[in-house]
Every structure is written in structure tokens, then in C-alpha cells.
């Protein structure tokens, strides 16, 4: 489609090298994020496989899941980048409804 809002400007050599290095550094951070997520998944799996008391393990693995999701949203899905205010608003609105559903179902549905 038309309506280009981007004006084509060529970067000079220095600007181009800088942008490339910045992206490459950014990619390294993504790999670190990935390593953390793998580690958290493994910890969650190991604590459950070790058969410890559910009373202690359940909150821990839920917390580990929440941390992973935050990493996924803010780094892999770039919510930490500029211009993501509306994205965050939409997602958190959805999550707010979601929590309401879960609390409602757990309190009013019984068998």
C-alpha cells in the first residue's frame, strides 16, 4: 500500500556499522534471555520431578512461568521497545479479563 510514513534515507558507513553492531548486541541479549528461559523451565521440571510438596512447589513454578512470560513478552515480542504502550494496554486488558474469569470459575463452579 501507499501512505509511506518512512522517508528513505541512506545511512553513511559509520551510522550503518553502528546500527549493525547495535542489532548484533541486541541479538546476543536475546540469546541470554533464551538461556534464562530454558534454565527456568528446567528448574520447574526438576522440582516437580523430585516430588517435593505441592504446597511449596506450586507457587514457585507459577512464579517461574510468570517470569518466563514477561521475558517472552518484553524481549522476544519487543514490548520493552518504544511505541508499545497500546500493545501493553491491549494485552493487560485481556489479562485482566482473564484473571477475572479464572477467579470466577474457581469460586462459583463446583462439581
Amino acid at each position: 500500500m501507499g501512505h509511506d510514513t518512512h522517508v528513505v534515507v541512506a545511512k553513511n558507513k559509520t551510522q550503518y556499522e553502528y546500527a549493525r553492531r547495535k542489532r548484533s548486541h541486541h541479538m546476543q541479549m536475546q540469546v541470554v534471555t533464551f538461556a534464562i528461559m530454558i534454565f527456568l523451565t528446567f528448574i520447574a521440571f526438576a522440582t516437580v520431578a523430585a516430588g517435593m510438596s505441592a504446597f511449596y512447589v506450586a507457587p514457585v513454578i507459577l512464579l517461574l512461568a510468570a517470569v518466563q512470560v514477561v521475558l517472552q513478552l518484553y524481549y522476544f515480542m519487543h514490548m520493552s521497545d518504544k511505541g508499545h504502550n497500546m500493545a501493553a494496554f491491549f494485552l493487560y486488558s485481556g489479562a485482566l479479563f482473564g484473571f477475572t474469569f479464572i477467579i470466577t470459575f474457581l469460586t462459583i463452579v463446583w462439581w
Binding site: 500500500m1 501507499g2 501512505h3 509511506d4 510514513t5 518512512h6 528513505v8 534515507v9 541512506a10 545511512k11 550503518y16 546500527a19 549493525r20 542489532r23 541486541h26 541479538m27 536475546q30 540469546v31 533464551f34 528461559m37 530454558i38 523451565t41 520447574a44 521440571f45 516437580v48 520431578a49 505441592a54 512447589v57 506450586a58 513454578i61 507459577l62 517461574l64 512461568a65 518466563q68 512470560v69 517472552q72 513478552l73 522476544f76 515480542m77 511505541g83 497500546m86 500493545a87 491491549f90 494485552l91 486488558s93 485481556g94 489479562a95 479479563f97 482473564g98 484473571f99 474469569f101 479464572i102 470466577t104 470459575f105 474457581l106 463452579v109 463446583w110 462439581w111
Partner: protein, 210 residues
């Protein structure tokens, strides 16, 4: 498709996915859609949590009896999907570097990992049905298959979407016209992984703990 500008790595915008109005709109609209998807999955999680282990008198299926044995397999599925999330990050890295072949290659790896996940999930479902835990067996089985199956359906749609994008754009090269399409598909793929993290934790890990 009115995109006539021939980009070079030097003129390629910093944010090609939002370089035109269509891209900006798509970005906003897609995040609204993801907000809706969050609500969809939350309602399925709520249903599952309310109905798990519930069924007809004398039902012997419990989350513990079903998921304990296969937990390493589900762990492997989680690893596959998490890794496919990273490979799609690599694809977007190459997209921003104006490297079309790099992007296509990493998208293809993402698809392969996704297919591996899907194969294991089909095997898992086949196993449950085989031992008598089929969709209409109990409130528990219906809630389980609806939640995990809806996620599986998202994986199928995501894979189909990425494969079609790769084929359709194979000879086009990279432009601000298709960069936004790849970017949106990769956001969708990450969201699928976000949902799976909760399924792995709430359904499988907490299921095994009982």
C-alpha cells in the same frame, strides 16, 4: 502492492515492520487480537481448572495418573517450542539486517521445530484416546482436549501461516510490504509459546503434583 522503492541494507529502515501506514495499523490491530486471544485462553484455562479430575462416578483418570509417565515428553515439547521461539527471533534479526535468505532459513527452522512439537502432541493425544481418555469421556477430558487442542490448533495455523508466507514471498525478496507480514507471524508464534508456558505449568507440572 505499490512498493516501488528498491532498498539496500543502508536505506533499509530501522523498523521496517512499521515503515508504512499499513504496517502501523497491522501492528496495532494484531496486538488487539492478541489481547482477545489472552481472553480466549484464559476462559479455557478457567474451565479446565474448574473441571479437572471431575467426571462420571468411578472415573479413574486423574491428572497424576495421566501426566506423570509422559512428563519428560512434555518437557521435550516445551523445549522444542521455546527453541522455535528463539529461531523466529533470529529470523527477525536477519529481517532487520535486510538479509532475506537468513530470514527465510530461520523461519524454515522455526517451522521444523513447530512440526516436531505438533508430532509429539498428536502422539500424546493418540495415547490418551487409546487408553480410553477420549474427548467425550468426562468433563475433565473435554476441558483438557479443548484447552490443549485449541493451543494445538494455533500451532497448526501458525505453521500454515509461516509456510504460506515463505512460499508466497520466496522470489520477491524483502520489502516494507512483506517485512510487516513476517513480523506479525513471528509475534503470533511467540504468543503461542507464551500460552504453552502456562499449559506446561498449570496442566502438566501442577497436574503431576496433584
Amino acid at each position: 502492492m505499490a512498493e516501488e522503492i528498491k532498498y539496500t541494507p543502508q536505506t533499509w529502515p530501522e523498523h521496517p515492520e512499521t515503515a508504512n501506514l499499513e504496517g502501523k495499523n497491522k501492528f496495532l490491530g494484531f496486538w488487539l487480537f492478541l489481547g482477545g486471544e489472552t481472553v480466549l485462553f484464559a476462559s479455557l484455562f478457567a474451565t479446565y481448572l474448574a473441571l479437572k479430575d471431575k467426571g462420571p462416578e468411578g472415573m479413574t483418570f486423574t491428572t497424576q495418573s495421566l501426566f506423570s509417565e509422559g512428563l519428560p515428553l512434555v518437557f521435550l515439547m516445551t523445549m522444542l517450542l521455546l527453541t522455535s521461539s528463539l529461531t523466529s527471533v533470529y529470523a527477525m534479526y536477519h529481517m532487520k539486517n535486510f538479509n532475506f535468505r537468513g530470514m527465510q532459513t530461520w523461519m524454515a527452522i522455526t517451522v521444523l521445530l513447530g512440526l516436531g512439537f505438533l508430532a509429539l502432541e498428536i502422539y500424546e493425544f493418540y495415547h490418551y484416546v487409546h487408553i480410553g481418555f477420549y474427548f467425550s469421556q468426562s468433563a475433565f477430558s473435554s476441558a483438557f482436549f479443548t484447552l490443549v487442542g485449541t493451543h494445538g490448533l494455533h500451532v497448526v495455523i501458525g505453521l500454515g501461516w509461516i509456510i504460506l508466507l515463505m512460499l508466497r514471498n520466496a522470489k520477491r525478496g524483502l520489502s516494507v510490504y512483506n517485512a510487516q507480514k513476517y513480523y506479525t507471524a513471528s509475534l503470533y508464534w511467540h504468543f503461542i509459546d507464551v500460552v504453552w508456558v502456562f499449559i506446561f505449568t498449570v496442566v502438566y507440572l501442577m497436574g503431576v503434583m496433584g
